[in-house]
């Protein structure tokens, strides 16, 4: 393999990994904070992409994309926040909350998917990319959209890390994630913090949807693949630290990019699942996990 080819595959893997990280971090933050797996997360990605498409196509070009990048996450934040009260809050005292939330979030995924079909129809759509052409770096040519995706993804992940580590609300979310009872005793409004967590996860999903929708076609069932990839990343990397699924996402992205080049597009999922099974056999808590969950 030539060095130039290797570099292209690396960049492609990193861009893919960044998007997977953005999708998976929402799933991971919800799991570590509330202790439930949100199976509606994939449809959050899809709904975010559709809202962004609606906004960007009505305005067009880079301004449309920019407005979509603002409206879609805000909309999804509100939807995610509200959905907490419908999907999880009613069952928070139930000992079977994990199982019940699987059912409620799967139901929500199905309803959102149907609503997307009802509002936007079954025909595929694509969000117009804000930048076009290539950027020349050290004699190599990279897609400007790929570079933008990678930079924005890293920025959003860093912003989320800062928010959780440094802001008062982020600190409160981390505290509530670790010890709900002590947090309540301290007077935290834990329900609000949990709803905020789902809202933030949904907003990051919307940004992922915006970028995926600008490089691939979107349709009402488009959320299935992001959900599957997020699950792989979270299980693969574990959730011991904020960075665990992010590192795993980049590894998954790189494995996928190399698999596509070496074995073809259709072998990539098989190779990913095969590696995931091997990791789980050796380290059931995930590649970067401990046998605990923290935020």
């Amino acid at each position: 393999m030539e060095l130039e080819t290797l570099l292209y595959i690396l960049v492609s893997g990193l861009v893919l990994g960044g998007l997977y990280a953005l999708m998976a971090i929402g799933l991971s933050v919800v799991w570590t904070t509330i202790g439930v797996f949100n199976f509606a997360h994939g449809t959050f990605v899809a709904l975010g992409a559709y809202i962004a498409w609606q906004v960007s196509s009505s305005l067009g070009g880079a301004p449309g994309f920019l407005l979509g990048a603002v409206i879609a996450p805000i909309s999804l934040f509100i939807i995610g926040y509200a959905l907490h009260y419908a999907l999880i809050k009613p069952f928070e005292r139930n000992p079977n909350i994990v199982l019940l939330s699987v059912i409620t979030t799967l139901a929500a995924a199905s309803i959102i998917e149907s609503l997307i079909q009802l509002i936007w129809g079954p025909r595929e759509k694509q969000i117009e990319a804000p930048v076009s052409g290539n950027l020349e770096v050290a004699g190599l040519s990279f897609s400007a959209q790929d570079i933008l995706t990678f930079v924005v993804t890293l920025f959003i992940l860093a912003l989320l890390a800062w928010f959780l580590k440094r802001s008062g609300t982020g600190r409160a979310m981390r505290a509530a994630a670790q010890n709900r009872e002590a947090a309540q005793l301290m007077g935290f409004n834990v329900t609000h913090l949990y709803a905020l967590t789902i809202g933030i996860a949904a907003a990051t999903a919307a940004i992922a949807g915006l970028f995926i929708g600008s490089i691939r076609f979107i349709n009402p069932t488009f959320g299935v693949d992001p959900l599957m990839k997020s699950l792989i990343v979270v299980i693969f990397g574990g959730v011991a630290h904020f960075t665990s699924p992010i590192l795993a996402a980049f590894i998954v992205g790189l494995i996928e990019a190399f698999s596509v080049y070496l074995f073809g597009l259709y072998w990539a999922p098989s190779i990913l699942f095969g590696l995931m099974i091997i990791v789980l056999l050796i380290k059931p808590e995930g590649l970067f996990g401990f046998q605990r969950k923290t935020l």
Partner: protein, 242 residues
């Protein structure tokens, strides 16, 4: 002493088990009320009912400074200054010690940034929690310092009534002395304290009055020295003489 904290007919049942039954007593402003009783007598449940975490009472009323507070949310109770510590070390383990204190400050007073940091430092100074531990994860601290940190976070919430649940459990003698001094220091700052403790010497040493519970009920309340000589109390702790 005035009835700063007044408990009236407080009760809680779990099926047929009456965990706390018809509990009534008052605590004066700035008083230290010791609470003793055998394991399972309902002491911690009484604290649970006052703070409503994890469950509220089935019956009864609670007044703070003449204002009824048993219908308030836990968030409102905290803002009024009703603060509690746990028997076990209930901290946010993977957060640093300073973050543990900061969340307490931010939550209760609503201040952020430098002012929150100043209040967190002040709470550390009052309790004497070593600042060189501030950046360590709370879970990495030895039990004694975890207890110190728990009291520091409670102080950071600016308590008017502090409910201390066995602050000296699992500690050695010199550490128990520290707990005694800390309780007295906090009390001198005007904080009303309810103290559950199994170490009788500590309990009788710091308490103005002693409340003894058995099977969810009050069996004695009064001057600590007199209460521990009460035959009913001796029987509750040691059993009936043969």
């Amino acid at each position: 002493m005035s009835d700063f904290l007044k408990i009236q007919g407080l009760g809680k049942s779990f099926g047929a088990l009456r965990a706390v039954h018809d509990m009534s007593f008052s605590v004066g402003k700035g008083e230290i009320l010791g609470i003793a009783g055998p394991n399972g007598s309902g002491k911690s449940t009484l604290f649970n009912l006052i703070t409503k975490i994890p469950f509220p009472a089935d019956s009864g009323q609670i007044f703070l400074d003449g204002k009824r507070i048993d219908r308030l949310s836990n968030t409102a109770l905290t803002k009024l200054g009703v603060i509690r510590t746990f028997q076990r070390e209930a901290l946010f383990g993977s957060l640093s010690c300073i973050d543990n204190i900061l969340v307490a400050v931010e939550q209760t007073s609503g201040v952020r940034g430098r002012e929150a940091e100043r209040l967190a430092d002040e709470a550390s100074d009052i309790v004497g929690f070593p600042k060189n531990f501030h950046n360590m994860p709370a879970a990495a601290l030895p039990v004694f310092y975890q207890k110190q940190l728990m009291i520091t976070t409670a102080v950071a919430q600016n308590p008017r009534v502090l409910l201390l649940d066995e602050p000296a459990s699992s500690l050695i003698d010199s550490e128990i002395d520290w707990v005694r001094d800390a309780i007295m220091t906090l009390n001198k700052r005007g904080i009303t304290i309810l103290l559950i403790e199994h170490i009788l010497s500590l309990l009788t040493g710091v308490s103005d009055r002693l409340l003894v519970m058995e099977q969810g009920q009050k069996i004695a309340l009064g001057d600590a020295a007199e209460v521990i000589r009460d035959p009913v109390v001796i029987e509750a702790f040691l059993g009936k003489p043969q």
